[in-house]
Amino acid sequence: MKVTTYRELMAEQARAAVRVSGAHHSSWNGKVGATDPNEKIRGSVGWDHTINYSDELVTVPLKDMFENSRVYNQDPATLRSYREAVKTVHHENTHALAAEGTEHVDGQAAYQNSAERALEEGITEVHSYDNLNEYIDELGLEEIAPGIKSAEAQPSYDHYTPAARRFTEGIGRNAGVEPSEVVRRLAVVNPAEKFRTAAEVLYENSDLPGKIPEQEREAAIGRIEAAMKPSFSDLENLKTEPDKEKMRRQSAIAGARGAQAGVDEVKALSREWSQPAPETRVERGVATEQDRSNGQAPQESAPQQTADGAQPQELPPDLAAAVHASRSGSEPLSSASRLSEDQMGSRRSGTDSSPERSPEIQR
């Protein structure tokens, strides 16, 4: 949807992020708050799913952008302030993306861990930065601020993004999936699910589904996930690196090591399941048959915690109504599209636990 006012932008921010990413939904609760003016924070997503922006650094430039609507030839510094404000909006709304049956808050405990936090911030920044012009197009902001799509805006988290890029490159190359698609799949799940989603991509595009019975699938994916995390914990050690080149190189090495550890674990699992002891082979064969006959779907059920259903409290009534309408699903979005199996790069078909397949955007 094209927006023409600041209020419309705030109302549409989450749905546009969902459309750009193909996520199942956004956890945003419809509330927009202000960050503490005593702390320099451009934006944040609270664990209650409120999104907060700095009045000075984000809200004011965004309001200015609409007040100067359709003004051409604005100076580069002004356009940069607009682009950076929209980048913050996209970054925070990317944090809020969630898979079916899950919410952003389900990642609260995981976010306390350095590995999950580094991957969350690295992936969120890579996705929101690389797809910023798509987000701008989705909202029609080039028409509001001509030149915003080609304005400069510095990327952030430069100590995490090389790790995120090489990690997704390594996963993608081994799985036969475009790295940008791996980034997208990780961006649309909460912080607790990112490593697991990466492990699933490796697993599903390996020979393991043909070797490992369904009831062992979750444990196998858990092993791949566990193998990948330690290298991201090592990113804390980057503080001893003296400059940009060495910090980015070491970050890239950490991300590549994480992906390789996952690939090595897949190979180890493949070897383990290639030559089972005769009695084990029988047991596995029987178990697989039982699964088929019972029609079991032994995949781990996703966390069922749901949002508190909080309604907008700080938005004007018309905006609150728009948000409510979007969350109740009464406003389908024609631009949401389902990715084909080819685009997903997965061998899977039929029953599908992948959380981001549905084009539904808000529950």
Binding site: E39, R42, Q112, Q154, L235, R249, K267
Partner: protein, 141 residues
């Protein structure tokens, strides 16, 4: 050539990527690894080996592009170090919250003296420190 032999040689080259300065010999080392990978008989192992060599090249590219770009200002270098220290996993939840909050203040002060083009990228990092502090709050109560 089998995969294990390749892996031994790969790991030697991989270790060079962590050196303070990337050695001049690296292009030759990569070319040698490519030849070894191409000589692996098993197609799946050969593909894995090719992927590993490609990743070494990506890391070299990361290094080269970082060198080509404008270096970070002292403010950015300091802000990233402060961010990493403020994000440290050690300590009680209360200690970690205090550390993250102190990091937010420190990064705010660093941003005030940072070059304008880097200022917002520096401040952006405070978002994760706030999310961390708020994630820890239930455990600190």
């Amino acid at each position: 050539m089998d995969y294990e032999q390749f892996r031994v040689e790969h790991d030697k080259v991989w270790a060079l990527l962590g050196e303070a300065t990337l050695p001049q010999s690296l292009p030759n080392d990569i070319a040698r690894l490519k030849e070894m990978a191409a000589a692996i008989n098993d197609p799946a192992d050969r593909r894995d080996a090719d992927n590993m060599v490609a990743m070494i090249e990506s890391i070299v590219d990361e290094s080269l592009s970082a060198k080509d770009e404008e270096p970070w200002s002292d403010a950015m270098n300091e802000a990233i170090r402060v961010h990493l220290e403020a994000s440290d996993d050690s300590g009680t939840p209360a200690e970690r919250i205090a550390r993250a909050r102190a990091g937010i203040q420190a990064i705010g002060r660093i941003a005030d003296r940072a070059p304008e083009h880097e200022r917002n990228a520096i401040i952006e990092m405070n978002g994760s420190l706030l999310m961390l502090a708020e994630a820890l709050e239930p455990d600190a109560e």
